[in-house]
Structures are given as structure tokens and as C-alpha cells.
């Protein structure tokens, strides 16, 4: 294996890892505040992909242009879902919440199948097949644009939580639920807002990922599993952790495929997960629970 092959693999892993990280952010946001594990994570992201696909088919919109639209649409979906359905089980044991969200996931996949069928579908943007070279390093445009878009969306999200009043209120709810209520915050609205923000992340990630991969309803469970691996490695509830986890998974998969066997990619992801769980159970950037 030559030097440039390794550099190409690392670059590709980094770019795809950023996109994976963004897709996992939604899970981390929702768990970090509401303490509910969203088992419909991948399904909501695939809804975002189909939304961007429709925007492309109906109006010829580039998926990158559709990112804010997909985020807005999924925000509305997430807000209503939390307010009308999820909030009613938030006081119940965790396994009841899991079952509810798993049921929602199945319903979403079935609905997508009814509407779009099982065919893999994608978008044909002008740069879909294009790449550029720097020396022997070849970078393809869709992956580069997707990674940049992922960083922008992640930056906006982090800024929202750090600087906006609503973001601070949401963080206050996450830190101390009772305290937030005492100071007069509308916690149920903030929870719905948080679920909406998490779903918006997924909508944005879905639109971005549509640039890279074809979409079909059965894609969803794979992304749910991937997001769990990423956030557990990065630290459940940590936004920076989700991004770091995504990058680690992207790079480790690229290297595993190159140095060993592509069939071993998933084994390496899960191997990394086991190592992190053994050495640092709270995840790389997660906070330990005492």
C-alpha cells in the first residue's frame, strides 16, 4: 500500500465521518435533554432524505439547498411527535419508551414503503460524479460539500445551544429539570423544542447524505445502529462527542477496509465501541454518572 492510498483513505474517512457525526447529533441532543433514547432516529433521518428527494424531483432543488427546508420539516414533525406522543410516556419505565419509539420507527418505514416503494432512489446533481485532484489525492465533490454542510449545521446547532436564550433554557432543563420548572420555564414546550431540534438535525443530515447515497426505506435501521455506536463512543448527550465519534468511525472504517478486509469494517466499529465501553464507559467526551 502506497502513501497516497493511505492519505486518500484517511481523507475520505474524515469527510464521511463528519457527516456520520452530524447524523448522530440528533440522538445526542434528544437524549441529553429529554433523557429519551430515540429508536426512530434513522427513520426520521430517512424521512429527511425522502423530503430532499421530493424537493429535487418536484422543484429541481439541490439537496444542499434543501437542507434548511428538510430541517424545518423534520423540526415540525419532531415537535409534534414529542408534544402529542412521546411526552405521554416520558414518566413511564424506559422499556416502555423504547417500545413506543420502536413502534414509531416501524410505522415510518411502512409509510415510506407505501409512498415511495422499495426502489433505491437518488439525485443526479451536476457534480454527483465529479472529483478533483491535489497531487494524487482525489477528493470527490459530493463528499466534500456534504462534509462542509455537516460542519456548518453542527456549528449552527452548537451556537444555538451556547448563545441563544432558548438554547440556554434547554440546557438549563437538561441540567436541572426541577430547577427549570421553579424558575418558570415552560419545560414541556422546551422538551418539544428539543425533540424538534434533534429531528431538524436529522432532516439536515438526511438531505446532506442524499448527496452521497441512494435512499430507500430499509436504510433506516442501519443508520439508527450507526448513530448509537457513534454517540456511545463519543459520549451520550455530548454534542462534540457525537462529532468526534462520527469522525472516529469514519476513519476507522476506511482504514480497516484498506489495511484488512472491507468485510471487517463493521467489526472494527463495534470493536472500537467495546474498547471505549471497557475503558471509558461514559464515552470519550461524556460525563460520568455518579
Amino acid at each position: 500500500m502506497d502513501f497516497w492510498t493511505l492519505v486518500n483513505a484517511l481523507t475520505s474517512g474524515l469527510l464521511i465521518g463528519l457527516v456520520y457525526g452530524l447524523s448522530a447529533l440528533g440522538l445526542s441532543v434528544i437524549f441529553g435533554v429529554i433523557r429519551i433514547v430515540n429508536f426512530a432516529h434513522g427513520e426520521i433521518m430517512v424521512m429527511g432524505m425522502f423530503f430532499a428527494l421530493l424537493m429535487f424531483q418536484w422543484f429541481g432543488l439541490d439537496p444542499l439547498v434543501s437542507v434548511p427546508l428538510a430541517a424545518a420539516a423534520m423540526f415540525c414533525f419532531g415537535y409534534v411527535l414529542q408534544l402529542v406522543v412521546v411526552s405521554r410516556v416520558s414518566h413511564l419505565p424506559e422499556h416502555m419508551q423504547f417500545l413506543l419509539l420502536a413502534a414509531i420507527a416501524i410505522m415510518i418505514v411502512s409509510a415510506l414503503l407505501l409512498i415511495f416503494g422499495p426502489d433505491a432512489q437518488g439525485v443526479q446533481v451536476d457534480y454527483a460524479w465529479e472529483s478533483f485532484a491535489i497531487g494524487e489525492l482525489i477528493i470527490d465533490y459530493p463528499k466534500l460539500f456534504a462534509a462542509i454542510a455537516a460542519m456548518v449545521v453542527a456549528g449552527v446547532l452548537l451556537a444555538f445551544f451556547k448563545y441563544s436564550a432558548t438554547g440556554k433554557a434547554i440546557r438549563a432543563c437538561a441540567d436541572n429539570h426541577m430547577g427549570a420548572k421553579v424558575v418558570g420555564l415552560n419545560v414541556s414546550h422546551l422538551y418539544a423544542l428539543t425533540f424538534g431540534v434533534g429531528a431538524a438535525c436529522l432532516g439536515a443530515a438526511g438531505a446532506i447524505i442524499l448527496l452521497l447515497f441512494e435512499v430507500h426505506p430499509y436504510l433506516a435501521p442501519g443508520y439508527t445502529l450507526l448513530a448509537f455506536v457513534i454517540v456511545i463512543i463519543g459520549g451520550l448527550g455530548s454534542l462534540f462527542g457525537a462529532l468526534l465519534g462520527g469522525i472516529l468511525i469514519g476513519v476507522s472504517e476506511a482504514l480497516a477496509a484498506l489495511l484488512f478486509e472491507p468485510s471487517m469494517k463493521s467489526a472494527f466499529s463495534f470493536g472500537l465501541l467495546i474498547i471505549v465501553l471497557l475503558l471509558r464507559p461514559q464515552g470519550l467526551l461524556g460525563r460520568a454518572v455518579r
Binding site: 500500500m1 502506497d2 492510498t5 486518500n8 483513505a9 475520505s12 474517512g13 464521511i16 414503503l113 416503494g117 422499495p118 426502489d119 433505491a120 432512489q121 437518488g122 443526479q124 454527483a128 460524479w129 465529479e130 472529483s131 485532484a133 482525489i138 470527490d140 459530493p142 463528499k143 452521497l212 447515497f213 441512494e214 430507500h216 430499509y218 442501519g222 450507526l226 472504517e253 476506511a254 480497516a256 477496509a257 484498506l258 478486509e261 472491507p262 468485510s263 469494517k265 463493521s266
Partner: protein, 409 residues
């Protein structure tokens, strides 16, 4: 009416009678009787990653029922089963279909799923007519109820070698280094194994310089293509499924992997969805696979009926071999005149069909339930259509080899 003249049927008698009736009606008539209609369990991956392929196979079955009825074959009732693209579900669904009264099972497209269904059919003494499954051992395990009109992995590989030699000879362009990318499921592993075993025996002019197994349901295939590119191959040989074939093509173009050609032995590269997703970049790919022979009258009838019912959708091996599987069942039932399992088995063993839809002399099973030789062709993608370029007796066009470079399309 006096008490003495009242009917003497007690509540208990009525309940017992109703119970017996219910039990009798619930018992499947799988060992059957003389009948005018046969119940065919069509077991396919209708959901999961292979759903679209399952739908294509079902379309082949539906067209077969329509065409064969017009040809004077007896009526068939299809009972549908979904493997969900999972081996364990295939097993459970095969049991369910048989317990539901299916006289024969047709399926299951995928080697692993078909192996699972075959075990059930063998246990329950119900014939399984395989539409598509290449794993060799399916007809090497001494099964008495399994019948397959589809080539085994070694047969596909052998014909692929023969057709490759012809292709290279016709064009004068011979690759010296070939990279093999194959899925790591039952089908891909068995085919890649056969390919490796037979390469020296066929004295091919090239060397397989890289063999890469991958998960067909992965997301990103850039690493696979990068690894193949690192071996500096002249040509790529792929054993794929659909979505991975699309992603690999995208990566080949983006990573600027210029090749003499892409050859496939398996599904994916010739599918409608593939050509729709890849556009001009899907052109010139050659699939070395079992295929439909449009020079046969039955294939022409299938094509006419198919285009009428599903305009704009192409016919592939999926529809062709499923059509043939239904033809085999209809023919056996017609000759047996009974849905009794042993009668059907005996009739299947004596199958002799020449007017089928796929490449080859016809369908006749050996003692193992395998058609001894099912030839494959070479099919090239051209602007959304699949053109048979080899063997000569079934060819409808001349091959383009080497393929046109990605950047000059």
C-alpha cells in the same frame, strides 16, 4: 311438537360436529387430490434490501400465469410469502406456506434463503422449484424435492470464462490484471470461491490481483474501490447486489479508476434501477449471467405481455427464470393431473421443456434435481437497455470492449 318428536341432536353433539368440521377444514390438503387448480407458494424477498428484486421476480410469475393460461396450461393459485431478505424468515415462511396448503413452493432468488426453504420442503415432502439460486450444494445434498433450472456457481463461472475469452478474442483487447469485488453473502462467497478454483483450470489470460469481499448492505464503498484501485487492475470483476453496484459505479467514476471494462457475475449491474441511477456511466458494463433468449417464442410472448402490463420496465434474469419456474410447475401439474406431492414430484422428474424463456436447450432435470447445463450469456448495458452480445446463438448485438472511458461519456 312433543318432547319425544324433537330432534335428538344435543348441544354437545353440535359442538363436537362443529369442532370436527373446523379441524377437517384446517388440515391442509398438501398431499392433495386430483384438482383443477394448483396452489403455488411463491416465496421471495418482498421486503428488505432485496425487495425490488423480489418484486421483479413476482412480476415474472404474474406474467407467466397470464401467458401460460392463454397457452392452455391449468389454473394456478399463487400464495405469496415474504422472506424479508432474511434466511430465518425464509425458513419460517416456507413452513407457513406449506401449512397453509401450498402444493409446491417456487423461490427464493437468494442462495441462503433458498437453502433454508429447501430444508423445510425436504422435511415436509413438498416440491421446491427454484427460480434463482446459484449455490452448488443446493442440489448436491441428496434432496429429493428440490428442482433447479438455474446454473450453479461453477456453471456461471465456467461460462463467464468462455464468454470472456470470446469477448477478448473478438475485440483484441485482453486485460492482464483483474480485481475481484464480491459480496460476502452465501451467493457471493460461493461464486467467488468457484471463480478462484476454476481460474487456473481455464488458463485465463489475466491474473486476479486483488480479491475483496464486502458487506452488500454497507453504506460507503469508497474504501472497497480504493483498495481495488491500489492493485492497478485493467478490469474489474464484480459479484454484487443492486445498491452496492450503484455505489461502486459512483466511486469508480469519482476515484477516476479507468478500466478496460467492468464485468459482473450476478445481479445489480443490469437492473433497471441501476441504469436509472447511473445514467451514461452504467453503459458498457457487461454482465456474465444467465439471461433471457428472445429468439425463443415463449420469451417473445413473455416480453410482449410484460411490456403491455409493465411499460417502461426491462426484463432481466429475475423475471425470466421466475417465469420458467412457474412454467415448470404448470407443466408438471398438467402432466400429473393431481396436486398429490408424489405425483408432482414424479412429473417434475420427467420434465422436458424446450420452449422456455431463457438461454439454453431447455429444461430437463437430472437425478439430483438440477438441469445439468444452464448456459449463461454476456449482456451489455446500452442506454438503459440490456443487449445480449454472447453467446452468438442468442446475441442481438456486438459488444463494445474496451468500454468507453468515464470522462469521455
Amino acid at each position: 311438537m312433543s318432547e319425544k318428536t324433537k330432534p335428538t341432536i344435543s348441544r354437545r353433539t353440535v359442538l363436537a360436529g362443529a369442532g370436527a368440521g373446523a379441524v377437517a377444514s384446517a388440515v391442509p390438503l398438501k398431499h392433495g387430490f386430483a384438482a383443477s387448480k394448483i396452489k403455488v407458494g411463491v416465496l421471495l424477498p418482498r421486503s428488505g434490501p432485496q425487495a425490488q428484486i423480489g418484486i421483479d421476480c413476482q412480476r415474472g410469475a404474474d406474467i407467466a400465469a397470464e401467458v401460460l393460461k392463454a397457452e392452455g396450461y391449468p389454473d394456478m393459485e399463487f400464495v405469496l410469502g415474504d422472506t424479508e431478505t432474511k434466511v430465518d424468515v425464509a425458513r419460517a415462511q416456507a413452513e407457513k406456506l406449506i401449512d397453509g396448503g401450498a402444493n409446491v413452493i417456487v423461490g427464493c432468488f437468494d442462495s441462503g434463503q433458498t437453502m433454508a426453504a429447501a430444508q423445510v420442503c425436504e422435511q415436509k415432502n413438498v416440491p421446491l422449484v427454484v427460480n434463482i439460486a446459484a449455490v452448488t450444494k443446493l442440489t448436491e445434498l441428496g434432496y429429493k424435492w428440490v428442482f433447479r433450472n438455474f446454473p450453479t456457481g461453477p456453471m456461471i463461472v465456467r461460462d463467464a470464462f468462455v464468454n470472456q475469452k470470446k469477448l477478448f478474442g473478438m475485440s483484441g483487447a485482453t486485460p492482464k490484471r483483474v480485481a475481484l469485488l464480491h459480496v460476502n453473502d452465501t451467493f457471493g462467497t460461493s461464486l467467488a470461491g468457484a471463480l478462484f478454483k476454476l481460474t487456473p483450470r481455464f488458463k485465463m489470460p489475466y491474473k486476479i490481483v486483488e480479491k475483496i469481499a464486502y458487506d452488500p448492505y454497507g453504506r460507503d464503498f469508497s474504501a472497497e474501490v480504493r483498495k481495488a484501485k491500489g492493485a492497478k487492475p485493467d478490469a474489474l470483476w464484480a459479484v454484487s447486489r443492486l445498491n452496492d453496484a450503484i455505489s461502486i459505479t459512483k466511486e469508480l467514476v469519482r476515484q477516476r479508476v479507468d478500466l478496460m471494462g467492468v464485468m459482473s457475475t450476478g445481479p445489480g449491474w443490469y437492473e433497471d434501477a441501476y441504469m436509472k441511477a447511473t445514467g451514461k456511466y452504467g453503459n458498457d458494463v457487461i454482465s456474465l449471467v444467465p439471461w433471457v433468449d428472445y429468439k425463443k417464442p415463449m420469451a417473445q410472448k413473455m416480453r410482449d405481455a410484460y411490456q403491455k402490463r409493465f411499460p417502461g420496465r426491462g426484463i432481466t434474469a429475475n423475471q425470466g427464470y421466475t417465469f420458467d419456474a412457474i412454467l415448470i410447475v404448470a407443466d408438471a401439474f398438467k402432466r400429473a393431473g393431481s396436486t398429490k406431492n408424489t405425483d408432482l414430484q414424479a412429473a417434475l422428474q420427467k420434465t422436458k421443456i424446450t420452449n422456455n424463456t431463457t438461454i439454453g436447450k431447455g429444461i430437463q432435470f437430472n437425478a439430483k434435481g438440477q438441469v445439468p447445463y444452464v448456459p449463461s450469456g454476456a449482456v451489455q448495458n446500452r442506454d438503459g437497455k440490456q443487449i445480449v452480445v454472447l453467446p452468438e446463438f442468442a446475441a442481438v448485438g456486438k459488444p463494445i470492449w474496451p468500454m468507453r472511458p468515464w470522462r469521455k461519456r
